[in-house]
Each structure stands twice: as C-alpha cells, then as structure tokens.
C-alpha cells in the first residue's frame, strides 16, 4: 500500500469517525417519537437549518457531475446552475416554504403528499404524489453512492474499488441515520457543510496554483479547447430548459421540502433564504472552473469518466496530506444529500403509506423501529442500483430533476389557487409524467421538443392540463380548501 493510499484512508477514517461520533451524540437527545425521529421536533435554528437544507441540495452533482460536465462543455456548467437555481430556489423557499411551514405547524404535516393531499382531503392524490417522489428520489440517491465510490476509488488509485467504496459510505450514513434520525443527520450536515465549503475553496486555490494561476490555466483552455470557452458544446435551448428545471425542482425534493418544515420559526427560514444564494453560487463557480481547467491537465477522459476529474486532479497536484482532507470535502457533499434522501423516503413510506394502513394505530416507538428498518432496506436498494449503474451522474440527475419539476404546478395550485380541483392536480401530474416519459423513451419524436430538454414541454403540458381540468370541473367545496385559505388569509399576502 502506497503512502498516498495510507494518507487518504487515514484522513477519511478520521472524517468517518467524527460524523459517526456526532450521530451517536445526537441520539442522546432523542425523544423516541415519530415527530422527533423524522423532523427533529421542528426545532432547528438558522445555522443547523441552513446546513441541513443546503447539504440536502449540494450533492454528487456539485462535486462530481459539475466538474465532470465542465470537462466536456466548459465554464457554462456554472451558470447552468448558478444563474437560475442559486437564487430561484431560495425564492421558492418563500413561495412554497412559508405556507407549507404554517401548515406543518397547524396539522403536523411532514411530507409534500400530506400538504397537497390535505388541501383536497384526497388520499388518492397523496398516494400518487408520494409514489412519484419516491420513484425519482431513489435513482438520485444512487448518484450519491456512485459519486462517493468513484471518488474513493480514484483517490486510493483503485485500492478501494467502486463497489467497496459505496458500501463503506453507505455504512457510515446508516450509522448516524439509524441512531440520530433527522437530528443526527442535520447535526452531521452542519459539520459536512463547513467541510465542503472550505474544501471547495481549498481545491480551487490549490489546483489554480498548480496550473500556473487562473489566467494561465484559462489561457491553455482557450488555446487547446476553445469550444469550452465559447459554450458551443451546449445548445442554448438546453441551457434555458435546464435552468427552468433546476430552479423549479429542488423545492419539491422530498428531502429539501421536509427540512424546510423543521425550522423553529419563520425567522430561521428567512435567514436560511438570505444565506443560501452565496455559497450556492460559489460552489458551482469553483467546481465548474476547476473541471474545465482539468481538461488541459488530464486530457482524454471519455463520457462519465470525467465525473472523477476532481480526485484525479487532487492526486496529480496536491500534497498527500491535503488529499485526504479534500477528499473528505467531496464525501461530505455527497453524504449530506444521501442521508436526507434516505430519511425523506422513509418518512414518506411511514407517513403516506403505513399510517394509512393497519399500522395507523401503532405506537410511536413501533413506527420509529419500522422507520429504521426502512432506512436499512432503502440503503441496500440504492447499493444494488449503484452496482448496476449504467450512465453518468449528470444524465441521471437531468431525468430525475425533470420528474420533480413536473410536480411543482400541483403543489403551487394546492397552496395558492382556491379554484383548482383535486382532479386537475391529479391529471396534471399524469399528463406531465406521460409527456416526460414519452420523450425519454422515444415514443414522441425529439423534434417536437425544439431542442429543449424533455422536462420543459412536460412542465408546460402539466400546467395546461391543470388549468383546463380546473375549469371543466366544479368549484371545490371541500373542507380542506376552506381550512387552508382561512389560514393563509390570516398569515400571508
């Protein structure tokens, strides 16, 4: 075993010990209830809430997908996310988060399906929404494992294989999730967010220095790969449609939505909203720029191989002692999303399915035990999918994000449109998903997308169906609509 491998493994072992230690410590504060295990008793203050929300959103996409994408298409990868998602998603914290938080306090809601289904008292709608969200979250969850596995494999020069790396990472996440639930995950995320923010800046500074400074590194790219500077490798239609998709989808991520409901009061949500855009911009800018520079330093990577450009650059350009530290930053970003996704899917299964079944009268202690088993089973499922992974991280994410973005129209309608009906919300989901899948599977000709990603026409179809069905169905007279808007009339503009 080389010195490099020993140094990397030692640093990562220390990092794993710290996060597992935080998880164990957080379990001392457990109250043993569902509300506590899944929502941390809705008592998070600003720093923990920000870290939990930001950590849930910064993932393998940022530390592997973005530099990997920039390697092939250039600097356009940072505005691909930063000039839309970095500010539009926090804006939606207000649009969706403020009203959902009030509903969570009033009715004890934890999931998107509860908020939307509760508006019309429609169990069918709630089940459909929950199924769709679980369906899109699981492949997204797999990307975290893949990203972490590839990073570990690259940093240890193949000593730890991809599959072993995925098992190691999954095991660490399991420990603090099983012990600490939402509180454990949020506390670990606070540590992880600090690590990956500092790590991202350090990676940028070190790589830039090693390549002769930003100006020299960029000059080489202009000379050898001018297409990376001109953005000619990405059509503007793709840039536009992904901007819309990536801005609209995160607020519907079950893991992010749930965490918005864990804030102690509206002030914590507002402060989180103000902090969010700055590190969001910074992370994307730094990672995409480093990925683009990597093209001249390590040329020849094909397809998804470029997802490993960051660890490859670290091996080539950083001192051994620093490599483990920076590798830990990559792990922190990936694991913080994985834990939130695992917990959110578990919460959805427990709240949206089991609580409507024969288990509805089960005690909190029983439900928490069941939740822990679910966390274990879902981790194993993600691992199996990870072992079978066929395509790159950014491709998986683009599809999953489109699926999430299609869910936003019914969520907004539930919170803002009194005239909207449950049938309209249901058919909007069905129509947009059918459209998305038809394009993805080639059942509809690609020329009908006019160069845009499949998600954009799917969102438009969903909105059109939502409006059309609303006006051909009777005005809703249900109790849920009256309750919701009575609350909103008192609390929001």
């Amino acid at each position: 075993m080389s010195t490099q491998v020993i140094a990397v493994l030692s640093s990562l072992a220390l990092y794993m010990l710290i996060i597992v230690g935080i998880g164990i410590y957080s379990s001392r504060f457990s109250r043993g209830t569902m509300e506590d295990y899944h929502m941390g008793s809705r008592d998070f203050r600003t720093i923990v809430l920000f870290s939990a929300v930001f950590g849930a959103n910064i993932s393998a996409v940022t530390l592997a997908g973005v530099p990997g994408g920039a390697y092939h298409v250039g600097w356009v990868m940072w505005p691909y996310f930063a000039s839309s998602w970095a500010w539009a998603t926090p804006l939606l914290f207000y649009t969706v988060g403020s009203r959902s938080w009030v509903l969570g306090q009033r009715f004890g809601y934890m999931t998107v399906a509860e908020v939307v289904g509760g508006r019309w008292k429609s169990p069918t709608l709630a089940v459909v929404i929950s199924l769709m969200l679980i369906f899109y979250t699981v492949p997204y969850l797999m990307t975290g494992l893949l990203g972490a596995g590839r990073t570990l494999e690259a940093l240890t020069e193949g000593f730890v294989t991809l599959n072993v790396g995925m098992v190691v990472v999954a095991s660490a996440v399991l420990v603090y999730l099983l012990l600490g639930g939402m509180r454990g995950a949020a506390w670990v995320n606070t540590f992880q967010t600090g690590i990956f923010l500092v790590g991202a800046v350090a990676i940028f500074v070190v790589i830039a220095g090693a390549l002769g400074g930003p100006a020299e590194a960029t000059r080489r790219v202009m000379e050898d790969y001018p297409e990376l500077m001109s953005r000619s490798r990405m059509p503007w239609q793709q840039f536009f449609s992904y901007g819309v998709i990536v801005a609209l989808s995160p607020i519907v991520f079950p893991q992010l939505f749930m965490r918005l409901l864990t804030g102690r009061d509206p002030k914590t949500l507002k402060q989180t909203m103000c902090i969010y855009p700055v590190p969001a911009f910074l992370m994307m800018f730094l990672m995409a720029t480093v990925g683009m520079w990597g093209r001249t330093a390590i040329p020849g990577l094909e397809g998804a191989e470029s997802d490993a450009i960051l660890p490859l650059l670290l091996i080539q350009f950083t001192p051994i002692w620093m490599m483990g530290l920076l590798g830990a930053a990559a792990f922190a970003a990936m694991m913080s999303t994985m834990d939130s996704q695992l917990l959110s899917v578990t919460t959805m299964i427990a709240r949206d399915f089991l609580s409507r079944s024969r288990l509805k009268d089960a005690s909190d202690a029983t439900m928490v035990r069941i939740s822990r088993v679910l966390v274990l089973v879902l981790t194993l499922l993600a691992l199996v999918l990870g072992f079978l992974n066929p395509i790159g991280i950014i491709k998986i994410i683009e599809f999953a994000l489109s699926g999430f973005a299609c869910m936003l129209a019914p969520v907004l309608a539930a919170l803002y449109w009194k005239r909207c009906t449950s049938q309209a919300a249901l058919w909007s989901i069905v129509a947009s998903q059918v459209c998305l899948w038809s394009f993805e599977m080639g059942l509809l000709p690609a020329s009908w997308r006019f160069g845009f990603l499949s998600g954009l026409p799917a969102i438009v179809v969903g909105v059109v169906v939502l409006v059309a069905v609303t006006y051909i169905t009777p005005v809703p007279q249900d109790e849920g609509t009256r309750e919701y808007f009575a609350i909103f009339d008192k609390t929001t503009p």
Partner: protein, 74 residues
C-alpha cells in the same frame, strides 16, 4: 383586504414577474458559441460577467422578498 396586505401582494407579483424576466434573459444567445476576449483578471470574459450579473439580480430579489414581502406572523 388591508392596504398593507394589498401592497405586499403587488410587490409579490412584481418579484415573480422580474424572476421570470431574469430566467428568460439569462440565455444570452447573442454571444452564444462565440469566443469572447478575457476582460477581467485575464480569465473572466463578458458572458461570465453577464451570468454573474443575473445571479446578483436574482439574489437582490431574494433579499427584497425577505425584507418587504415576507413579514413575521404566526
């Protein structure tokens, strides 16, 4: 509806309108595919500055929303 509530609702609509405009104009297709000179620090070009400007404007919308639209109420 109170005058204050109406004001906040109008501001809310303005923010959403500006957000939509930003989402559209972030696609600077007039420069798309062209090699632009590096104008700042020897590694930043004009389209990069433009995209940064879009982010700044979007961030301003977020701050405006927090300060003038989302008031604290339980």
């Amino acid at each position: 509806m109170s005058i204050d509530m109406q004001k906040r609702r109008n501001r809310e609509r303005l923010v959403y309108l500006l957000a939509v405009i930003l989402m559209i104009i972030r696609v600077d297709f007039w420069w798309w595919g062209e090699e632009m000179p590096l104008v700042l620090f020897g590694w930043i070009n004009v389209p990069m500055l433009y995209q940064f400007g879009i982010w700044v404007a979007g961030f301003a919308l977020v701050l405006y929303t927090v300060k003038y639209i989302w008031v604290d109420e339980q």
